[in-house]
Symmetry: C3
Subunit: 273 residues, 3 copies
Amino acid sequence: MKEKLAAAWDRVREQRPLVHHLTNYVTVNDVANITLAAGASPVMADCAEEVAEITRLSQGLCLNIGTINERVQSSMLLAAQEATTLGHSILLDPVGAGASALRTRAARGIMEAGKVTALRGNVSEIKSLLKEDSHVQGVDAGDCLPESTEEAAHWAIAASRSLQSVIAVTGKVDLVADAEKCFAIYNGRPEMSRITGTGCQCSALAAAALAAGSEPLIAAAAAVMAMGLAGEIAYSRLQAGEGNSTYRNRIIDAIYHLSGQELAEGARYGIYG
Amino acid sequence: MKEKLAAAWDRVREQRPLVHHLTNYVTVNDVANITLAAGASPVMADCAEEVAEITRLSQGLCLNIGTINERVQSSMLLAAQEATTLGHSILLDPVGAGASALRTRAARGIMEAGKVTALRGNVSEIKSLLKEDSHVQGVDAGDCLPESTEEAAHWAIAASRSLQSVIAVTGKVDLVADAEKCFAIYNGRPEMSRITGTGCQCSALAAAALAAGSEPLIAAAAAVMAMGLAGEIAYSRLQAGEGNSTYRNRIIDAIYHLSGQELAEGARYGIYG
Amino acid sequence: MKEKLAAAWDRVREQRPLVHHLTNYVTVNDVANITLAAGASPVMADCAEEVAEITRLSQGLCLNIGTINERVQSSMLLAAQEATTLGHSILLDPVGAGASALRTRAARGIMEAGKVTALRGNVSEIKSLLKEDSHVQGVDAGDCLPESTEEAAHWAIAASRSLQSVIAVTGKVDLVADAEKCFAIYNGRPEMSRITGTGCQCSALAAAALAAGSEPLIAAAAAVMAMGLAGEIAYSRLQAGEGNSTYRNRIIDAIYHLSGQELAEGARYGIYG
């Protein structure tokens, strides 16, 4: 498994995929730079008039609804349709789904318009996308997961089945699941939550790994491990007086230097299912 | 007074308020990171369809018209109305008011739609919001303040009365006034003006301190002192060859580590009125 | 020539021009900070209602179509018309022209609406703006330039004539040409392409130098040299473990400290034509 994870990570630098992003304006610069750090290339274009053309030039799609509005929502649907037609991977980051009706509806609309390959969000965002009557939702109401990692992993597998997508649920322990198997990943630092957009950046890494053509579960898991590991490496390099702004830079810098072998050596995880 | 200022600053980390920002796309990432550095959480959402919902989830509102357009202007009015209904604090940064008719009108419209708790801007922005026939405007035409700090402080108190809001007028000396009292604050470095968005970031700190529930005058004064002090701390840490981009990071880093006690010890100010 | 280049660079700090930017939301913060680093001031405003007013307050215009949409496209036309009426310099960065019909049309529309002083882009962007039937396009199909620098320089002079604008074509060797003369510039580092927005930042420097009132060819050449030289200086300062995010900061920092004399001493170029 370590070899597969390393290969998925290295494949981004080998394939250098162009990833089309429709994303929020808060973290877009960091998203672009971390995509470049990983070895892929970002293209941001959100005007309905050109969005399908840009999707066709790209190898993968990354949709992030963090500052969605009606104009960009329409463009996301067009991009999702085009990417699906082309067989491109689609990563959806449903930022704030569950927090407003617009966001929940926007995320669900994208999932209906196209074939989402992988979702990355926190537990409340992912839960808000599960059908209200679903068994998965019924069992685990609220924003918590079972305390036992094994039970949480089985929840994630069930959620992945229900959503028909790989899911990456990031939190204290990160869960990356498909319909059969779940990685529970222990990398990362709590201080990462004091930086805006570490979630968006993790999604961008997953989109890059998917666009490079690796198996979706492995691509998403490698991206989540890489982000966590970069958080650890960057934290160890912080000097006296440095805070969240420099930490942000050092995380992207760590991704820039991270090799597949280092990822495989530094990843801490269990596999369930 | 020092204890009150320290308490207002520490209260942000204790309360961890969620602050709803409708802001410009130039400095939004720094605004989010400095909000997190101070211990609050930012949420950016500007679509009319969801803006009131997001305001309801939050504890305070921060409106910044730096890159305003008609769509976002409408959303700001909805957010201001909702925040006022809920009794939330509203910080308005009237970027460029006076420089274009749109901006002056947008800022005034927000002040009519909602109860603005505090305004932060430079002197020309604040002056543009004073009614044309007001006594305050008549006395001090142009973009200058009286040279005597005492006279400037009394101008600020009069302006605060006229605007029915705490005002933070940042410049060579920063003035933070309510209807009774004015802080003249001497912290800061001239090099801060070579970084884009230090004003926006100061507004974000004030919005966070207001959302944490402190008395508006004290909250705004503590934020202005914190920003100036962080500019001093960060400047002292600059190494050879470092310029405005690294200085920006080091200022946010300094906020990340600044305690209420350090703020009280480092603040340099007089009180008038 | 070295004296003219140094003078064009120093003139930005002497004149401190206000530059009106309508630009993309991916790199806008870096664009603002590098403009300040160079000694100019940026103002970002893209609402049709105020765009002409802001153009009138400024000394130069910088249009970047990196994330264009219909709303901003209209505003760019208004700004270009107003700047032309006022005799202001206009720098156009036709990001992605040739990659989508919208972008090619948007860039051409701006060139028809106003008098573009200088264009900065990569070779495929610049080529997409040449009339399809033009001799220049016919000779050099595709995204490549002649391998011989001399031939490439003569292509650039012909392209400048056809486009009736100074052109700065950045790539492995940067070409900056007007209708008579071409600088071939050898500064820069390949690692700069791993940072988002180094092209946008180079355009912002050119816009600042133009707005300061220097001769367009010299202003554009000085900006391209400054950007390349800053990339070299910043690279030499990178420490172990630092990657593209810190490199971005160090480049802006290097611009902050770069003097006209250092630019003249560090610039490596030939002149053709």
